[in-house]
Symmetry: C2
Subunit: 642 residues, 2 copies
Amino acid sequence: MTLTDTDRTVHSPVGPTVPSRGALRPLGLDEVRITGGFWADRQRVNADGTLPHIQHWLEREGWLGNFDAAAAGTLTADNRRGREFADSEVYKFLEAVAWQLGREPDAGLEERFRKVVARVAAAQEPDGYLNTNFGRRGQGARWSDLEWGHELYCAGHLFQAAVARARTHPDAGDGLLAVATRFADLICDVFGPGGIESVCGHAEVETALVELGRATGERRYIEQARLFVERRGTGVLRDIEWGRSYYQDDMPVREADVLRGHAVRANYLASGATDVAVETRDEGLLSALRRQWANTVARRTYITGGQGSHHQDEAFGDDFELPPDRAYSETCAAIASVQFSWRLLLAQGDPQYADLIERTLYNVVATSPSADGRAFYYANTLHRRMPGEPADPDTVSPRAEASLRAPWFEVSCCPPNVARTLASLDSYIATAGGDSLQLHQFAPSRISTILPNGEPVELAVETGYPVEGRVTVRILRDAREPWSLQLRVPAWARGATVTVDGDAATADPGTATVRRLFRAGDTVVLDLPVAPRFSAADPRVDAVRDSVAVERGPVVYALESNDLPDGWADVADAVVDVSRPPADTDGSVTVRMSRRAERDLPWPYGPAEPGAPQAEAEVPLVPYHDWAERGPSTMRVWIPAS
Amino acid sequence: MTLTDTDRTVHSPVGPTVPSRGALRPLGLDEVRITGGFWADRQRVNADGTLPHIQHWLEREGWLGNFDAAAAGTLTADNRRGREFADSEVYKFLEAVAWQLGREPDAGLEERFRKVVARVAAAQEPDGYLNTNFGRRGQGARWSDLEWGHELYCAGHLFQAAVARARTHPDAGDGLLAVATRFADLICDVFGPGGIESVCGHAEVETALVELGRATGERRYIEQARLFVERRGTGVLRDIEWGRSYYQDDMPVREADVLRGHAVRANYLASGATDVAVETRDEGLLSALRRQWANTVARRTYITGGQGSHHQDEAFGDDFELPPDRAYSETCAAIASVQFSWRLLLAQGDPQYADLIERTLYNVVATSPSADGRAFYYANTLHRRMPGEPADPDTVSPRAEASLRAPWFEVSCCPPNVARTLASLDSYIATAGGDSLQLHQFAPSRISTILPNGEPVELAVETGYPVEGRVTVRILRDAREPWSLQLRVPAWARGATVTVDGDAATADPGTATVRRLFRAGDTVVLDLPVAPRFSAADPRVDAVRDSVAVERGPVVYALESNDLPDGWADVADAVVDVSRPPADTDGSVTVRMSRRAERDLPWPYGPAEPGAPQAEAEVPLVPYHDWAERGPSTMRVWIPAS
């Protein structure tokens, strides 16, 4: 516990991604604060419900205890608890708590944080190595199983926790950053030039090393991340049942056209590669990543923003292979996708990246946790055909299937990943660039920053979004020079208007810019048409042919069996009348449906004989992120259209 | 090598299933012979290509060598080759060879068979136990891993090989039956009343024990099978990630409504349970199995007859969860389904069971092997979106994905399973019952039997089926008493006719019965309307909404990219015009298609904007079982309809 922490810290915004260049500069938690509404509610549940819940399970399952046993010298392969990557859940928890403490100091939470850090630090070996799963009696040797061992992956999450702490509390003196840098130094020694010429089977350390380099000013970490990015795709890992594409070792990052393989790995790798491209001014690599993002969004992404069609290997499918009933759409893949989009947004400034972030946050990240923040979806199906069984709140779920939300999993990556994302969400609201401030996400919030050109800016955002489409930006400080307020107009928001002090103008999807010498009290009002709408899919998404989804603003809706009229057995019975737009009362959406009661034939294939529609009814839909809060049900996002 | 083999053998038809009661009596390989046509071609390839191919790989991969090492006492966990169930591939190979020798004596093949039997027998332990994966240095103890160890599963395949040998060559004197009965006796000791009250994680031994009991007259084996069937579903196996339904241990067999879990396990269990129900006159159990069959066929079966929608756990999905692009449709599941249907057909006599057998044989079993019988599909997808890579004919494929056919797999259950099925296929053509002979499958064949009432019958079947719809049955022997020729009329064959010595009559789907005092030279002609037809799916099969498949007789057709007109990039471009029936010239089927060139949108969801159809063309289809014989391609069975 020396001064190393602060010595190696350079000033930077207090947020999870701080590139040294790019179109936009992120604003830290000290500059943006979500003050109410949809996300503030979830941040409150995250702090009060989820964080204690996670710590409870980390203790109960012994994943924290592994560090104690390692420090005491009693840890062996036989008594170590959890899967090979269990350490990483502790680190993600630490990262989440660090961001939360950065938002809201809390002496009790601070003390719990420090105690966990001390237990982790005590397990670090003299040369900096830190992993409870390798090197002891009965365990594999260090770096002996790069394909599946997750050592560098765990290290990456340690680094991200340390960066979060360094940025939110640079003078904490708890030693976490020193633990991280000692391990990072070792990794650079072991995997640097002349060392092991390989990578981790689960990308993660790449983005973490770049961030650690940014936070400490240590260029070597960024160079090591570059080496990892360049090596991947050259066949440095073993071939496996699902092919090297599973861990993106099938082709070099700069040559790929689309994300493929394990969806979390793919997005973490793309995030790290974007960081490397930005820091090394590698325009070719950045261009490849933009191309991959575009093709992945156009061909391999669910309407929720979810990614990953395969349960078997938690992986992307082929182009347009997007079955709603077999959607895996892992929560962590959505979080990783937000990280990738965020990095491209900062680098390029294109609002399409913020569009996908919004979609993914509202429809996957917000879907995973239960209302009380103590149960989670791991996979986020878009169609449940048979009701699931409620998970026991006191039992670890062995299943990452699209079952009901569960309190904890044998592979429990998602709960702490949700926690760290919600705890740092303020940072994704707005950015600055030149003499402009960009508002990317619409939430009641307070923003106070200095634009890159030196202009101090203060404003408040008031909105009932996403239920309401009106976003009011109130300027709180007289400007010295004219500056630009840039408002994202989502791609779905055709017919939006911007009203400045009473003068309304239409705003096309993209960016609406208001430039003036703002005075305190000025208001800019963005009106987004959030009326519910039917959406169809590209016909190549065969699995949802002739079906529609209902969206309202950024929120995808679903038909849940709880809402069916009496006598309608199942969501499979319902056909939606698309000749009449969905009805809407303050976010309560209904559609006109007819019941098509199918009867079983002995053999379900033959001449087309459509069943005649029977009863008609006005049926409520539910925001997809709110489904399965009323007990076991069937559900579908895509509804057959009449 | 004592006389035990023959001592314990009772007379029975020379075929793979010989129940002691039931509506229909199977005919053995000595009574029915396929003499030409579609299946004779495949049997020839099976004998000349597949059987030597399998033996080559069994030697090369060391799965046969495991037995030698076991006999020599040198086998350990470290030097044993292959997966835990590798022994079973040797046994399935033996079974296939036994049937093939029963069809066509061949001195060279006979010698090779005996040599393999001797190597297997030498590895048997003094108490009868025989498995190369348990009980030695570094290996688990016997019966220590019933969930995954596959010991009883392997034993079951040994028993089936022994039964095949006993029935085709009862006086062979090679000792195989004695090896089987010694092991079966031990299993009855270990798992009988008062023993281990559990079952094997992979059902198989149940049907095998019943068959061994039938072949030897040993009732104890049938009783042991009954115990295994009754125990399953009572939670005797551990819970696992995919739930106990994976190995059907979630509910008792007699309580289930539908097949579920691992599709091969489910069908083998259902087959064994049917055998038990028949032998123990358990009408309640038989009724449950009929119900499960009906619900599985109505809700969980692909149009090809394939079963299993999940890659992850090789399992059935929920009702109507039948994505064509993620169809697993394992070859072995199809074979197991044929076994289940066959047993119900023998027990009940209902031609619907033979309908499914026909569909599954033509569209899954015939699809798996390549034209030269040296490469196989493990999974049989109904939609390939991106071209696969050709498999190296000299390399074991780690992947059971729906890739191109591969020569051998790490899990190589399918090749020998296809081999034993084709080698015994003659037995599935016809049955006898009372004073009737039933013709279930239409192939050029010669049948000579004595009906259960004592009437000798001889007839020849001539047909170009399935290309042609005419099936001519020529009576070769004057009858002493009137008897009934019963011809299956498939469910799809609306408008079939039966012509007896020139007099034609229509025949509804089901069974057409011709009863008379047949004279040598009489002919009965069944004309089945095999003109190609469009088929749609139950609307609850959401994945193929608004699409059609083309069937011709029992054969499912597919659109393969090789056949697209110039300028059509991919099968995704094609829309079929269903207003005009498919054209047909002797099985060469074409449909009218328009090209719908889709362009990528940045985001593939939004207001419905169907692309305008462009070029029109007459496009050939290919029988699904012949696809992927012309190099990498894309393919689809279900084609969007205009």
